[in-house]
């Protein structure tokens, strides 16, 4: 293509425009979200101050002005999933209070490849600590062992390595819920609730699973089934209700209306609980057909209030954001080892705890 004349000028113009736009794009984005350049300078200052404080053994309680440490929080939950919003909020607040720069990274779409790739890139940036969900221990095993061998501390959150202690990835500790226990405790509570309020055991139950194959959800379902088995009751069947609430409603409706004696619908998250509660109300079966669910939001709380929901399990997501930052800070700053397991749930929420939980939802955006 000839470069002379008007064409050449137009081309140069476009190159210039694209450079300017690129610079503006990168610069603006960088300025809005992170303002790292000034931080870089202040990190050195902060470190010097810290060293001085250490030498004179004086403890200053005033919050640190500039981030002293950088932590990467790498999770399989992206910003599109409302459950993770309180987690992000918790991590950010802890970072602010402690003067720690927390970078939260989550994919647009669930992807193990994304998680491993992002871990690799984050490690190259040499952070002071990594907080990560062990979404697939097979894929993360080798990369995480390498990270730990490099001396970068790692904390697991939300999903842990389920293998025995001697085989598992040697992370410092795990902060989150035990998924199997969440289902097991919920089912045990539901059975006891029936004995206490109805004077008998439930005659039948069903489990609505909204993401078949999601290891966490499958473990919750297994916990429910085991609790029923232990109580000598018929093992509840698993129904694939999909993440589409309209489909979930119809699938559950046809199941409970064609099976006899179904008294409890177990759901494993709000995506199942919402259509199940709607169904109980639409069929005018409040007080006869009940929902018991994992995870909480304001709709589920209203269900607990009006009796459509017996109980919900909360794993307190805000704590899953806040606590790992605190524990990592304690470890990096003072050498304090976190406990190997720090549970944030399961906590059974029934009518008696509704007001307390409402405060949590109001303050943190979830429970």
């Amino acid at each position: 293509m000839p470069l002379g004349g008007l064409k050449g000028i137009t081309k140069s113009l476009w190159i210039a425009v694209s450079v300017v736009l690129l610079v503006i794009g990168v610069g603006a984005g960088y300025a809005i979200g992170t303002s790292i350049a000034p931080v870089k300078e202040t990190i050195t200052v902060a470190r010097t101050i810290t060293q001085a404080v250490e030498q004179t053994v004086t403890v200053t309680i005033a919050p640190t002005v500039a981030p002293q440490y950088t932590l990467y929080y790498i999770s399989h939950g992206g910003p599109g999933d409302p459950w993770w919003a309180p987690v992000i909020k918790g991590a950010e607040l802890a970072g602010k209070l402690l003067g720690v720069k927390v970078v939260y990274l989550g994919p647009e779409k669930f992807s193990v490849k994304w998680l491993v790739d992002t871990l690799q890139s984050a490690v190259a940036a040499k952070p002071d600590g990594i907080i990560i969900t062990i979404t697939d221990y097979r894929a993360l095993d080798e990369p995480l062992r390498r990270v730990i061998a490099q001396g970068i501390p790692v904390l697991a959150v939300n999903v842990y390595d389920p293998r025995p202690e001697d085989q598992r990835i040697p992370y410092l500790g795990y902060i989150g819920q035990e998924e199997y226990q969440a289902g097991y405790q919920l089912a045990k509570y539901t059975i006891t609730w029936f004995q206490r309020n109805m004077g008998r055991l439930p005659t039948g139950a069903v489990i609505g699973i909204h993401e078949v194959g999601h290891v966490g959800l499958e473990l919750r379902a297994k916990g429910i089934q085991d609790a029923f088995k232990e109580a000598g009751l018929a093992i509840p069947e698993k129904l694939d209700i999909t993440t589409d609430v309209t489909k979930a409603y119809e699938i559950l409706k046809s199941y409970v209306t064609t099976r006899r004696g179904i008294e409890v619908i177990f759901t494993l998250g709000p995506l199942g609980a919402h259509p199940a509660m709607q169904l109980v109300r639409d069929l005018n079966l409040v007080g006869k057909l009940f929902v018991s669910t994992v995870d909480l939001d304001d709709k589920i709380i209203s269900g607990i209030r009006d009796g459509a929901v017996i109980a919900a399990v909360s794993q307190q997501p805000f704590a899953q954001g806040f606590l790992p930052v605190v524990y990592m800070y304690l470890y990096v700053r003072f050498g304090i080892m976190p406990p190997s397991q720090i549970p944030t749930g399961p906590t059974i929420i029934d009518k008696s705890l509704v007001d307390l939980v409402l405060k949590q939802i109001r303050e943190t955006g979830g429970a």
Binding site: W14, S121, V123
Partner: protein
Amino acid sequence: MSILISRHQKIFGIRELYVVFSIVVMTILFGYINPRFFSGEALYSILTLATELGIIALGVSFLMIAGEFDLSVGSVYAFSGLITIWALNSGLSYPASLFLSLLFAIAIGLVNGIVTVYGRIPSFIATLGMMWLLRGLLLAITGGFPVGLERLPPEMIIYTYQVIGDLKASSLWFIALILILQIMLNNTPYGNKAQAVGGAPGVARALGVRVERVKIGAFVISSLCAALAGQVAVARFKIVEPTAGQGLELEAIAASVLGGTSLAGGIGSIVGAALGALLVGVIRVGLIFAGAPAYWYIGFIGFLLIIVGIMSIRRRR
């Protein structure tokens, strides 16, 4: 036909300059934000990312130059990985497993090509259908669970061997593939025909090129590249999740377009597609180094695509 091609070849150089320029600008910017971006680790991380996307982008680019699209590459990537894991878990050797998964890719490429060319369906629709069909099969067969490799065969070290630092052997395979496809596109009669078929199918047909065969061949190349990227992923992650590779098809098209490949066919280069994938890698890793939330990545790629799109329209005028 030769006039047609020599005109395109001149354009390649200029088109590639844009992406090289973007890579340089981005690297300087991210390095300014976080000087650690200039480290070897960052470079290896970028190359690892660029390799898997790039191998797919090479095939997609080749097909786009021949005037067609392939949206099924993400599904082929996951499915071929699954076939490899199944074959290995059932006791077959790695060469046999590789053969089976490549055979599968060839079959899918042939089906895509035949349906598009003889069924006279736009490749966008034919491969969209294939993408969903394979994804549905993947989900149905695995029940939604990830499938793991029981033991990693020693031969798979040809992808994961660390040449220097964290630089993996797969990146060298990527470079080899760039050379092979670039030579194939520019220095073989088939490559010349592929460019002619994409740029001016009517003229090519009049000159005696068997347009259908050339296009079907390009579909097979695209599918094979996706299957090869699947092998690299299996060696690295030791699992295949049923949702693996979702969205990769669009990322590969984006990398090709960023590298100067025209959506209208006939124009583009293999080196350009590889550089496009490298640019995508630089942005992805750079944003992490900058400490920006990772979801900005999509916005960045979108922004660049719009600019490149505008520039290519202007050039054509």
